[in-house]
Symmetry: C2
Subunit: 146 residues, 2 copies
DNA sequence: AGACGCTATTCATTATAAAGCATAACGATT
DNA sequence: AATCGTTATGCTTTATAATGAATAGCGTCT
C-alpha cells in the first residue's frame, strides 16, 4: 500500500512528503509512541489586566540582563534579536507596577541596563510560584488516571 | 485626535503604526495600566513524551466533535480551517494511548467522527485538572506579594 | 572634544503558521 | 449504481512573527 502510493506519485516531487509522512507513521508505530509516558506540562504568566508582564522567556531575559548588565548582551546570549529583547523589556516595564529594570542611555561604555529590586523579587516570585504549581500539578495528575 | 490620525495616515500605511503606537502609550498612561490588577494566567497540556496530545484548543475541538458528529462542522464552529482541525485530531489520536475519536470515512451522510469513551474521559480529566491547578495557583499567587 | 558601545528606532527580509482552495476517495443508504 | 457529505491530501496564498541590517542619539569617561 505504501509502495503503491510511492509509485503513483513518482512524477512530481510531492513524493518526498509522502515518503516522509509515511515514514513517520511507520516509525511512530515501531517506536510505539502511544506507549510513551504521558505527562502534563504547564506554563504560567504574570499579567497586568490583559497585558502580559512576565513569562518564562522574559524571566530568563531578566536574569541575563542581571548577569551581563545590558539588554544587548543578554539578547546575544539567548540568540534573540536585540530588537525583540528590547521590546520585551519595554513591555514588561510598562505594565509592571514597579519598574523591573533601569536603563541607562549613553554614558560609561555606552550605557546599560540593570535589574531593579522589584525585578529581582519578580524573578524569585516567578520561580517560586512555578515550582509550587508544578509540584501540585504532578501530584494531582497522578490521581487522574484515564 | 482620532480624526487627525485618520487624515494623516492616508498617504502611506506606516504612519498608522506610528500613530497607533503613540496612541497606545498615551492611553496606557491615561488609563494607568500600571495600576491594573496583577494576575497569574496558566495553561496546561497533556503530553506523550515530547508530543502534545491535548490542550485547551484541542479539548474544545473534541467537545465540538462530540456535539456535531464531524470534524468538519466542529471546525466550522470554531472558525478554524478543516485542514487544521483534521491535523489536530490526527495528532491527538496518534499519540494518545487510546484513540480519542473514531472516524468513519464514507457512509451515511458521508461519514463522520465520534468521540470515544477514552476521549470523554480525557475531556473530563483535563477540565478537572485545569480547575484544580487554577484554584491552587490563585491561592498561592496571593501569598506572593512582590 | 572625541571615543565607546549601548539604547532606541525604522525598514526590508526571512521564517513560520494558518487559511483557503481544489479534488480524490470513501461507503452506507436510497 | 447514484447520491451524499464527510474524511483525506496536496498545493497555493495569505497572515503573522521574528530576524537582520542600518543608523541616530545618548552620556560618562579619558
Amino acid at each position: 500500500m505504501f509502495l503503491l502510493s510511492t509509485i503513483l506519485y513518482d512524477k512530481n516531487h510531492v513524493l518526498q512528503n509522502n515518503i516522509l509522512t509515511t515514514l513517520r507513521h511507520v516509525l511512530s508505530n515501531i517506536t510505539m509512541a502511544k506507549n510513551e509516558k504521558h505527562s502534563v506540562k504547564l506554563r504560567i504568566w504574570f499579567y497586568s489586566g490583559e497585558n502580559k508582564v512576565l513569562g518564562k522567556g522574559r524571566i530568563e531575559l531578566l536574569e541575563r540582563i542581571k548577569e551581563t548588565g545590558s539588554i544587548s548582551s543578554a539578547a546575544k546570549g539567548m540568540k534573540m534579536s536585540y530588537r525583540q529583547a528590547w521590546q520585551m523589556v519595554e513591555e514588561m516595564n510598562e505594565f509592571s507596577k514597579l519598574p523591573l529594570v533601569e536603563k541607562q542611555l549613553g554614558g560609561k561604555s555606552g550605557g546599560g541596563t540593570k535589574v531593579t529590586e522589584a525585578g529581582e523579587r519578580a524573578i524569585i516570585a516567578f520561580h517560586t510560584l512555578e515550582n509550587k504549581v508544578n509540584a501540585f500539578t504532578v501530584k494531582e495528575a497522578e490521581k487522574l488516571k484515564f
